[in-house]
Symmetry: C2
Subunit: 357 residues, 2 copies
């Protein structure tokens, strides 16, 4: 309080609101220099007389001092934040990853900034540009890059500028860019799933694909197709229904499917959320699941594991993967870009019972 009054002496017009307590105030209160206060409060390598140190800590507590992170950041050149870019934080795929990122970041004393692209590439570029201004230690891009190469090139440049300024980029998606990457084996996972479905007796697949420009979705589609092709079954474009990469996308796709009177014995949705949307639509139309048609998803979203019939899918350790992204980026500073590949694990549940041919 005394410190406060002394500070106010300098300004002619005193505002109602107190100015925040600064390190300067703490130093004065403790009767030491600014430098000593700084060295006592933050984790400096320098040693401080234990008595002084105690006095500073006491003063800080008494004044309820809160260090100004921005000031520290500008003095040190980098802030203590991890930036995370997702398509939609309300989508369980991304919120699972985000949970892992936040948890890992907190364990390392960092705060996570999250932004949403709403699946618009130009928006993604804008957001990366904005986040760069925070000078975060890490910039994590979750979700697949899109194929829009107009902005894709600009985005790449932006990311490279960010790294040349001392930041680190981590991609959670597919390999191919010169940054730390956690690659999801979308293709392999879908192929395995196709093989297994064949073994279970399925022969007439239809794919509920995502948007053609979403890389993750197209990889999954390709994996499915190859998996069936391995068994001599060609899944051509007529057996492919595109739609948004969302619950509603699945719902709509199922509507189209119903309209076309297809002969599918199994539907492969490219992710769980779409599968669930599709199931809702099919059920509305009176289609029995899995009696009339089987269905599968991808991701193994935790929140969706209780749908019924329970969904056959490919499990991805989303939350771990978010944590891994943090550690990967933080520990690889200066090194060459690292590539980690994550395998999907088949989970056969009730939505795809053995089919007696």
């Amino acid at each position: 309080m005394v410190a406060k009054l002394q500070r106010n002496r300098l300004s002619t017009v005193v505002k109602d609101r107190d100015a925040p307590v600064t390190l300067q105030d703490v130093a004065r209160e403790a009767g030491v220099s600014l430098a000593t206060a700084s060295r006592s409060l933050n984790g400096s390598t320098r040693k401080v007389n234990e008595e002084y140190r105690a006095r500073v800590l006491a003063a800080a507590a008494r004044l309820n001092y809160s260090p100004n992170l921005s000031a520290q950041a500008v003095a040190k050149g980098r802030s203590r934040v991890v930036a995370l870019v997702v398509a939609d934080i309300a989508d369980p795929y991304f919120s699972s990853i985000a949970a892992g990122v936040v948890r890992a970041a907190e364990s390392r004393g960092l705060i996570v900034s999250i932004v949403m692209t709403e699946r618009r590439p130009e928006r993604e570029l804008e957001l990366v540009t904005a986040l760069r201004q925070q000078r975060p230690q890490l910039l994590i891009l979750a979700g697949s890059r899109s194929r829009n190469d107009a902005v894709g090139q600009r985005l790449l440049e932006e990311l490279q500028s960010f790294e040349s300024d001392g930041g680190r980029v981590v991609l959670i998606s597919q390999a191919g860019l010169p940054f730390d990457t956690i690659q999801l084996q979308n293709h392999a996972g879908c192929r395995k799933l196709a093989h297994r479905l064949f073994e279970l007796g399925y022969r007439r697949p239809v794919i509920f694909a995502g948007p053609p420009e979403v890389v993750t979705a197209t990889e999954r589609v390709a994996g499915f197709q190859e998996g069936w092709a391995d068994n001599g079954i060609e899944v051509d474009a007529t057996r492919l229904i595109h739609g948004d990469f969302t619950r509603d996308g699945g719902y709509v796709a199922a509507g189209e499917y119903l309209g076309q009177a297809m002969d599918a014995d199994v539907i492969l949705a490219v992710n769980d959320v779409m599968a669930v949307g599709a199931m809702a639509r099919l059920r509305e139309a009176g289609v029995a699941l899995p009696g009339d048609v089987a269905i599968t998803g991808f991701d193994d979203i935790h929140t969706l594991r209780d749908v019924s019939p329970s969904l056959t899918t490919v499990h991805l350790p989303l939350e771990n993967l978010g944590g891994e992204a943090v550690h990967l980026g933080l520990d690889s500073h200066g090194k060459e870009p690292q590539l980690t590949s994550v395998e999907g694990k088949l989970v056969i549940r009730q939505s795809t019972p053995t089919r007696s041919a």
Copy 2:
């Protein structure tokens, strides 16, 4: 000084690989003063000659200049961030709110920092302390405060310090604290739901309650009890099963329920996530839903609307509410704490069919 001169850019084409481009660099490149560069690039009220302005913008683009937000924040006294505290970002309840917050914040040029308390009150205190250091414009606490008054008092102090330093706190939970608050009508919503269930013919409710120390959960339980009491049905402690406020909590509660051979005709889970967990457990035990027992949730989580049987619940506009929190806090600076009350809307679905008595 020497270093600075060496950094001087001779050619505009060459990218600097070490130090980030500063406003100083842009000014020099454009041949204007630092102040003019600043005024041209940020949204200052001051006017700048159109030619200079253009030169500055061109120079900034050429150098790929990225403003340092930390520096701006320290100069202006406050950062352009909104801080959000949630229990668990992977929980759809919170991720829905978060989506609203992020969207609204972005629309106002702010970046959102998210932290997770993992439902531990001491952790919440730590995190608020940490977030305060960012000097955010807004600090939004979503999810209910717990009843742990030891840390509760400290938290209150921390929040007040934050506001006296010029920040603004918004609570999404229950009224009672001297901050902007978006109050959820948990009690009223549950009471209405109880009334409706009575009308539908139900007479023997069992409540899957959350943890006793979570205010939101206890409010809902109390609302249920009062609703039944209004119709002369007392729901005493023997008809109440406590558990975590999560999917697994519901799963476990259902296990207990099964073990006790209760005579319920309807189960009231205090949120959708618990309801879904409970449904999974019940189904495992061969209980027919809603044939053997009806079930309801609360929240109307979007991702869960496709479970089957579809879940009767009380709809909360979670995403809007997140956006509202942002606008409320940002627009109420200096004013008295505002209180907004949000009503829950009954949604009767297939999990509670009319019951022929």
